[in-house]
Amino acid sequence: MRHVKCVVIGGGSAGLAAAIQLKKYNIDCLLLEKEDVLGGILNQCIHNGFGLTRFKEELTGPSYAERLVSEFHDLGIEFELDSTVIKLNSDKSIEYINPKGVHKIQAESIVLALGARERTRGNIMIPGDRSVGVWTAGSAQKYLNIDGYCVGKRVFILGSGDIGLIMARRMTIAKAKVVGVAEIMPYSNGLTRNLVQCLYDYDIPLYLSTTITRINGNGRVQSIELSRVDENLKPISGTEFNIEVDTVLLSVGLIPDNIITENAGIEMDPRTKGPKINQYYETSIPGIFACGNGLHIHDVVDFVSEEGDMVAKSVERYLNQLGKSDLSIPVNSDSNFIYVLPQTIDKSQAVKLKFRVKRPLKNVKLVIRTKDEIIMTLPKTQLLPAELEMITLPLPLIDKIQDEVRLEIIA
């Protein structure tokens, strides 16, 4: 069986960044990508708005990917396309399939950069007819930007996150009539910039606190029933109204795609839907690391790549057996948070904590405490669920930590 120092699974912006950085540390790696091109989801995101942090300019998705891919090729890193990993084992052997055969290799370390899949109608259980014409926003984006087919003429979009907003504009440019966007929350989860440039500029109405409660149409979608929702997000009966459309796009969230991770027996976090990690992005199996959308969902690709960089550093530490303490201190949070990463820390280094809050919060204090002691207090004028927050805990503060780190919000 072939031996490799490090195998990177996934050639999107996370995996590419990790592989590039590994090469810079002089670590031989092999990158496996299931598609026939590198770049991942970015290849279909032809709009602008990528790279402001990493490249200090505004790029389209494909050109952001191209920057990474050309650096990757310049460094002569080994990769295989059309190569789907079907099995990951806890002993770090990997089984993958490509047009040359079914292969098994042994890795000394592994970087999971698997990306995300989209929530579907079945996941959010929209009742109604078994109609054709309901797609996830990403599928419609792929049909339009890769294959050249606009899947709808009168389109309704559920979910006002950035992908939903961007598809509202994209479908409009492709001559579809986008009749509206509904959002179950009382606020949009998209960037203000996208709300203005994708909806307001095209007079597309946004229905807040509203959701689709039925899809109608035997054969093609004919109409949808919308309802207002109460504060528990339950539809309020009597508020139903119908809109005629032939297509519904769902932009109702991404889920880290982790079939092989789960099957390997790696511990998962039900909140992120990705693997649990320590501060080195290492999963419950030593030597297997995770980053990018496969770990938790990112809004900005620059931070995806940055995570790839950081994971490469951890792989280097791991391969060179640089000590890590035996401590495993849990990072917890109160009910204001969707999640906090990493799930555990070991006190040997400064830590960058990443988190999302459950609802928009204004003028609050973010408190980081350990047992009874507050070790950090940060005033925050605004915290939004759509925005991944990051704070670094420097070493002097780390020293104070006892058997738990806890994030809380106080008014």
Partner: protein, 471 residues
């Protein structure tokens, strides 16, 4: 001119085609849809029931037993999945004790294996059984199949052995002179004998032949939820609640592929083509299932669907021969389990009287291609690298397997057909990743534009599909 025309290619039509293709008669099958096995036979529980619950003296009781007996051999001959998982009929209250004993007794009379078991043993067999379950009957012979796989395999065998299948051919009228003239949307067909197995349209087609036919159907919808859990140990058997006058009730099972499936509900509907899911129906599935097993996390659900049962108001199958026009209608549950029994019954009771049925020589074998193991795949890749280009990651399906589905004797013509035959789109992402690639392969293999590939009957990628002039 055919000897026999079969109208409808659900499990009944497919099984009849399979059985008849081995005799020296000319047979054609007329199907209105673009794909076979796409109505009642595709949206059900996929169970080959042991056969204890139909009332004594009914065709249902008689033919379920024959069906259950024939299936293992058919599955073996066609290489399709048939898994004898066994079932538990559970009771949650001592009030149901009498009924439980009644079923045990009936099973014994019908020579169906059955064992009475109590709490400790139930829990040993099913760790996730609900705490309220008190006692149960264990039926080791209950089996699961993938209904469309069974039907597709039967029809492919039949077509390889001389049966003619006409799809997108809807029967709209029937005349009888010396022979039967069957009018369809694709012209006329003639035969000596016609078998009407048109499921939801059974009575309408029966009336084409006899306008005075008094049969009546009642349509009952059943809703389901499917989860992506593939945890081998979550559920080991099919779990039935106690039957009621509404049917077998909301049950829990693990499909051949390992997904958990809960349902169906049962209530009468007006529109027989109403395959919609409803809030009430899905909630009912949730609440009923929680009486028999411990609940699953909501976010594991990947799909909801509904099926419609075309039941006769007489509560039994209607199988009759009216002057060479054979009605096989009112086939609700256990229609799938009974299909081989129904087919045998039609042949033995009617066709053998009208035709001199002789077994054909030189039959061509047909083996269903099951999911490839890694070793099998590795071997196949040596001859065709497309076995190594994975299109559907959730289910590990390659480009070549999708091409094979399109080039079967009864090949896929739609996205739905490909999904039924090889499963891309059935997994977690529900086609999110692979659907466009499936469309691309269909378009290439059938030599048409992507927008002209149907999802299902007459519905396409773009709203106008094949009629779209803008591209």
């Amino acid at each position: 001119m055919y000897d026999i025309i079969i109208i409808g290619s659900g499990i009944i039509g497919s099984m009849l085609a399979y059985d008849l293709s081995r005799f020296n008669v000319s047979v054609c099958v007329l199907e209105k849809n673009v794909e076979i096995m796409n109505e009642v036979s595709s949206s059900n529980s996929g169970l080959v029931h042991a056969g204890y619950d139909p009332e004594d003296g009914t065709l249902k009781a008689q033919l379920n037993l024959i069906g259950a007996k024939r299936y293992p051999q058919i599955a073996k001959d066609l290489n399709v999945d048939y898994k004898q998982v066994g079932s538990l009929l559970v009771s949650n209250s001592m009030d149901e004790h009498e009924a439980l004993l009644k079923y045990a007794q009936r099973a014994t009379q019908r020579k169906i294996d059955v064992k009475y078991i109590q709490q400790d043993e139930i829990r040993r067999m099913e760790p996730n059984i609900s705490d309220s379950v008190l006692e149960a009957l264990f039926f080791p012979t209950t089996a699961i199949i993938t209904p469309w796989q069974m039907g597709f395999a039967c029809m492919n065998y039949a077509v390889l052995n001389g049966v003619k299948l006409f799809r997108q051919t809807k029967v709209i009228g029937i005349d009888k002179n010396e022979n039967y003239t069957v009018h369809t949307t694709q012209g006329v067909f003639e035969s000596k004998c016609v078998i009407n197995c048109t499921g939801l349209n059974g009575v309408d087609v029966a009336k084409y032949q006899d306008p005075n036919s008094e049969h009546q159907l009642e349509f009952r919808k059943g809703e389901y939820q499917v989860s992506d859990i593939r945890d081998e140990s979550y559920l080991n058997h099919v779990i039935y609640p106690m039957p009621s006058k509404l049917g077998k009730g909301v049950l829990a099972l693990k499909t051949i592929e390992g997904n958990l499936m809960f349902g169906p509900t049962s209530y009468v509907i007006d529109n027989r083509y109403d395959f919609s899911t409803t809030v009430n129906g899905l909630n009912e599935v949730d609440s009923k299932i929680s009486q028999i097993i411990k609940p699953l996390a909501k976010n594991r659900m990947i799909r909801q669907f509904a099926g419609v049962r075309p039941g006769s108001i007489t509560k039994d199958f209607i199988i009759e021969n009216k002057d060479g026009f054979i009605n096989v209608i009112g086939i609700d549950s256990p229609g799938l389990a009974s299909a081989p029994g129904i087919s045998e019954y039609v042949i033995e009771s009617f066709l053998k009287k009208d035709f001199e049925l002789e077994s054909k020589m030189n039959l061509v074998d047909f083996k269903w291609k099951k999911h490839l193991s890694s070793n099998e795949r590795n071997e196949l890749i040596k001859d065709d690298s497309r076995y190594g280009r994975i299109v559907c990651v959730c289910e590990t399906i390659s480009e070549k397997e999708i091409m094979n589905a399109i080039h079967l004797p009864v090949g896929a013509r739609s996205i739905k057909g490909v999904k039924r035959i090889t499963r891309p789109g059935s997994g977690r992402c529900q086609g999110g990743f692979c659907e466009s690639e499936v469309v691309r392969i269909l378009a290439r293999e059938l030599n048409v534009d992507m927008k002209d590939i149907p999802y299902d009957n007459d519905v396409f990628l773009t709203p106008l599909g094949g009629h779209d002039e803008t591209r």
